[in-house]
């Protein structure tokens, strides 16, 4: 699963970790993940899915009920948070309000003991890294949300951890700043070369930043894949629906022959989809809205269904068109507004919704 060109062992190895809280709440069920050195790894899922619990297990604030966590080849079961080679950026940032910016960044260096002469230089270097040079003497109360977060980043990075853990680091920022910080985090990660593990409920954040994403739902690990793989080839209905938008159809499997799977889709009839291996049991079919096109006549080289336009939502770069067939099947089609003229023309009445059979996903879970 881990693609490390140098064949090194994974920096993080989570082996069959489960976590139950008192009161019988199962937060995590048998999670196994390996993270390669230098990877930007995202834990993605809806709120309450257990992703933060998993991050806290890596930091040492929670202990797994079952399973082991190895970081840098060492079993972390009996290692306290203050002795782990990881540092964390908290969702609330937790920048100490009674210390200056520089004191905050120096805190982790001072508790280590040993030679203190190099500390001011390292603090200044860390502040430069997060573009806060010259802010050392300020109090955290004088900083904006984005600046406070940079302090939290500098404070964690100055310790040169093997792994940096980030708990929903961007959720408290406004939309524009969040986008800028996404790029900033990727730049930082490339500069320092430290493995980043980020927890987020925002799929766009995960897709645009991470090398690989683990999707967690109700404590179960559903899929670990690159952003492209996750978006284009989700393996379960939950992942397909959670990441981006998706048209989902349920159907009866009519069998697989000669690389073609035939499915009797409720309300749409028989669909022939190219498939690689034999699939048994009922399946779900899924098509992304942007893979669908609208025609005023029936195209003959693709799957096509006649439908009535119900609603149109113009969203600037694209227009979302909601359609339904007489049999109560709904489509959502995303039309890219490649020109001003295209944006002004909106579909109406009866049209054909069509897509390539190869763009149809087969979902078994």
């Amino acid at each position: 699963m881990v693609r490390d060109p140098h064949g090194r062992p994974p920096i993080i190895s989570i082996n069959g970790v489960s976590k139950s809280f008192p009161g019988g709440v199962q937060a995590l069920a048998d999670i196994s993940i390996e993270v390669a050195e230098g990877e930007f790894f995202a834990l993605l899922g809806p709120s309450g899915c257990g992703k933060t619990t998993l991050l806290r297990i890596l930091a040492g604030f929670e202990t797994p009920s079952k399973g082991d966590v190895f970081i840098d080849g060492r079993n972390m079961s009996r290692v306290a948070p203050n002795h782990r080679p990881v540092n964390m950026v908290f969702q609330s940032y937790a920048v100490f309000p009674h210390m200056t910016v520089a004191e905050n960044v120096a805190y982790g260096l001072k508790v280590g003991g040993g030679d203190r002469s190099g500390i001011p230089a390292r603090v200044e270097e860390a502040l430069e890294l997060v573009r806060l040079a010259g802010y050392g003497d300020r109090s955290p109360q004088q900083l904006s949300g984005g600046q406070t977060q940079r302090v939290a980043l500098a404070r964690a990075l100055v310790k040169k951890p093997r792994v940096l853990l980030l708990d929903e680091p961007l959720s408290a920022l406004d939309a524009k700043l969040r986008e800028a910080m996404q790029l900033e985090l990727v730049r930082l990660q490339e500069t320092v070369g430290i493995t980043f593990v980020i927890v987020t409920h925002d799929q766009n954040e995960a897709l645009s930043m991470a090398d690989r994403i683990a999707v967690i739902e109700q404590g179960r690990l559903l899929q670990v894949a690159s952003p492209l793989e996750l978006y284009e080839y989700p393996t379960s209905r939950f992942v397909a629906d959670f990441i981006g938008k998706m048209n989902l159809f349920e159907g009866t499997n009519l069998g697989c022959a000669g690389g073609v799977l035939s499915v009797n889709v409720n309300g749409l009839g028989r669909m022939d989809i190219p498939c690689e291996d034999n699939i048994e049991g009922d399946v779900g079919l899924a098509v992304r809205p942007e893979k669908m096109l609208l025609y005023d006549h029936r195209p003959d080289d693709r799957l096509a269904y006649e439908a009535i336009v119900d609603k149109i939502a113009y969203q600037g770069s694209e227009t979302r068109v909601f359609l339904s067939t007489g049999d109560g099947i709904n489509f959502e089609v995303s039309v890219r507004n490649a020109s001003r003229r295209a944006a002004a023309e909106s579909a109406s009445g009866s049209v054909w919704v069509a897509w390539h059979p190869a763009d149809t996903l087969i979902l078994r879970d």
């Binding site: 930091a59 040492g60 604030f61 306290a80 948070p81 203050n82 002795h83 990881v86 540092n87 964390m88 908290f90 969702q91 609330s92 937790a94 100490f96 309000p97 009674h98 805190y107 982790g108 508790v111 280590g112 109090s139 109360q141 004088q142 404070r155 964690a156 310790k159």
Partner: protein
Amino acid sequence: MESWRRNPLTFWVFALPPSLWLAVFFLAPLALVWMMSFGEKVGLIDIVISWRPDNYLRAMDPLYLQIFLKSFWFAGLTTAVCLVMGFLVAVAITFAPPRRRPLLLLLVMLPFWTNLLIRTYALIAVFRTKGLVNFGLEQMWEWSQSVLQGVGLGDLGLLGPEFEPLQLLYNNFAVVAGLVYVHLPFMVLPLYAALDRMDRSFIEASLDLGAGHIRTFFSVVIPLAMPGIVSGIIITFVPALGSFLTPDLLGGTDSQMIANVIERQFKSANDWPFGAALSFILMYVTFIAIALRSLWAGRARRGSAA
């Protein structure tokens, strides 16, 4: 608050009754006592307000200064013991399971439900020569003696010829112990409020950055709990300084506090003007302490905003 200004009628309807109450039952008697402190006794019951500072000058007598100092020492020691014990209790409640916390807080406040006089007499029952503490110690003495007897060392008299009860009552120890007992809840509650408000991720961040628990306690928990610590110190120190009942019942002849002297002036000595002057000196000192604290807090705020 803006809306109060736009609607003065509503404001006065709500503000007038309590203002009148305070004026009649708080400010007026206080003013009377203040005037009295500048008066002198004429005959047995008559007091003439002469507006001379004689009573204040008399209070500067070493005899009274010593009692003031002793009161500060007792109140300060009480506050220090309460701070250490109260912090431990407050930390324990803060980190107790959420369902247990209301019960634990109730236990802290439970003594308030009983009259102070009765609680103080109960302390006498604990501390007296044949009280609970000495009874327990005597049992332990006899038990140890019988163990020594059993191993053949009983005749050496290692523990003394017989059990000697500890003198726990009618001395300075009894006064400070009683004051700590009475004032501990005043310390626990503001400390608990401060710790409960504190974001746990500050503690986690400190651990995450490599600090141990002790370092985290002194570098992060205590500084962040400072507002609660200062409030706790003030609302423990001020009433402890003016304590009357505890030194009266538990103290010996040399454990008088200033409130006992004041009480004597108003009752047995029948010197109200001098008693009034002593009361006001106590009040001025308290005011100065609180003023210094706000000054310090204001500077700290400006310092962090600068």
